[in-house]
Amino acid sequence: MANLKVNYLGVEFKNPVVTASGTFGFGMEYNELYPIEKLGGITVKGLTLNERQGNPAPRITETPSGVLNSVGLQNPGVRYFAKKIMPELKKLNLNIIANVSGSTFADYVEACKIVDASGADIIELNVSCPNVKQGGAAFGTNPDTVYEITKLVKQAISTPLCIKLSPNVTDIASIGQAAMDAGADGLSLINTVSGMAIDLKTRKPVFHNIVAGLSGPCVKPIAVRSVYQTYGKTKAHIIGMGGIANGNDAVEFMAAGATLVSIGTMNFKDPFTPLKVIEGLNSYLDQNGISDVNELIGCAHPEGKKI
């Protein structure tokens, strides 16, 4: 049994496996199936300052090896989260990563302040949601805006802050660099890839928003490349995600530079995927004579440690 403990932004994780925002609610539905305390942590559904009802149906459709979604940040708002949900989550022995989004700079700051006081272990700033009209990816695709918003939020909170990046940019590493220059503690990537589907009966777009977010195993190579390039440029502490389905996928992300790996879409296929990733990661390490999972982080890079 190798050491699976990692430290991310000063927070101790019992293993590097967490769940991705929007795929795991606030954890309680999956806690019916297995004790979610077995995970390193969970990332909660994207929160906004005020409650949001999200987009009209349909919100999901299957693609080859993935799904397109257009949920549009339906959530009960940060105040409800801080008052009703965090106290329940705090009873569990796992780290809570709170994903926060907004339509304006002021919204982001205000929402983050409330989450900051709620006892969340890490705040993940969502500047990359493709399914909302204002804010979201509109902020995350411009390095200057990412710099500005990161700086404003960082000044307002004491919780460690990571910025969740969109892959729908020319150079994801430079956006990551802008966030780090502005004082972010870490990065999280990737959010969904911009995509679209047409309904064959109506010959019109499936989703009201026309475009939607693609996730699942089909985006994994894009995600691994993004983590590799971003880690290469910034050496930031990264939460890596995009189609992770098993321990071997997790090894790829960590070798590319991720400290934590996040399980998203594959929870829908098999709710036990995060546990299987922990097991698979552990057996990979054992089979390859690696005694500490930390040795994997960034090892794919030319200057990476030989293990």
Binding site: T23, E32, Q53, E62, V67, Q74, F268, F272
Partner: protein, 255 residues
């Protein structure tokens, strides 16, 4: 007992009922004990599919559950190719079932919406059943429903069997006359809309089983949203078919 589990169930019956509709019975003690009428299961149709397929429970048997589905795409096509003796990876039972009342009930189903109502028909004390199908060849479960109701009304869209029209047209007059204290329905949206209009107007207890494209099946991903009435600013809020439904009170749903 847990609310739901991921479990492996062996297929003990697999029959092509008509057209592309398949009748499946699986063996699984947990599902036999835990399932209630109106709930559904989320089935893994094979490695090539990232999403499970939600299918309503048709009957809870002594040793497992029975479900009937129509081939609508690649996933259900793959499911239809399974054989007796094969196993299925099933997440369930999921959602909330029907609230069974003692009074005289009307059970009304259209198309594949007929099948989620069979276990209910078995469990209610006294009911009439109205079932609508596109055409005569698709009329199914007629004898089975007959054994569990006072009056069975069959309707076909093309008039090739029973009443000419939809299931509601066969019983509309009786319903408006106040013959039923409770109504349970599942079927096409136009039928549910028309039914909601009548039960709202006549103030009759009515529950409908809804469907929507679904992700996780347990209330985490928030994909299978439907609109319900709300006092707040927007006048509506989104609930989710998998966790808050699939059975909703017709009165609160905005169709």
């Amino acid at each position: 007992m847990e609310k739901y589990q991921v479990t492996t169930a062996k297929i003990i019956k697999m029959e092509n009922l008509c057209g592309t509709i398949y009748d499946v019975t699986v063996e699984n003690d947990y599902l036999a004990k835990a399932s209630k009428c109106g709930q559904f299961v989320h089935i893994d149709c094979g490695d090539e599919f990232v999403l499970r397929r939600p299918i309503s429970i048709c009957e809870v048997t002594d040793t497992g559950i029975r479900f009937i589905f129509d081939v609508r795409g690649k996933g259900t096509k793959k499911l239809s190719e399974k054989k007796v003796g094969d196993t299925l990876d099933i997440l369930g039972p999921l959602g909330n079932g029907f609230a069974i009342r003692k009074e005289k009930a009307l059970i009304i189903g259209g198309g594949i919406g007929v099948y989620p109502l069979y276990e209910l028909a078995k469990q209610v004390e006294t009911c009439d059943v109205a079932l609508g199908f596109r055409t005569k060849e698709l009329v199914t479960l007629e004898n089975e429903f007959q054994n569990h109701c006072d009056n069975l009304y069959i309707a076909t869209d093309d008039g090739s069997y029973g009443f000419h029209g939809n299931a509601l047209s066969a019983v509309k007059e009786k319903l408006e006359r106040g013959a039923y204290e409770a109504v349970y329905a599942c079927g096409p949206l136009p039928m549910l809309k028309a039914l909601k209009e009548i039960t709202d107007r006549c103030n009759i207890f009515c529950q409908i089983s809804m469907e929507e494209r679904m992700g996780c099946g347990i209330g985490a991903c928030l994909c299978c949203n439907i609109k319900v009435e709300d006092d707040g600013e927007e006048g509506f809020k989104h609930l989710h078919v998998c966790k808050d439904g699939p059975v909703f009170n017709a009165k609160e749903v905005l169709l």
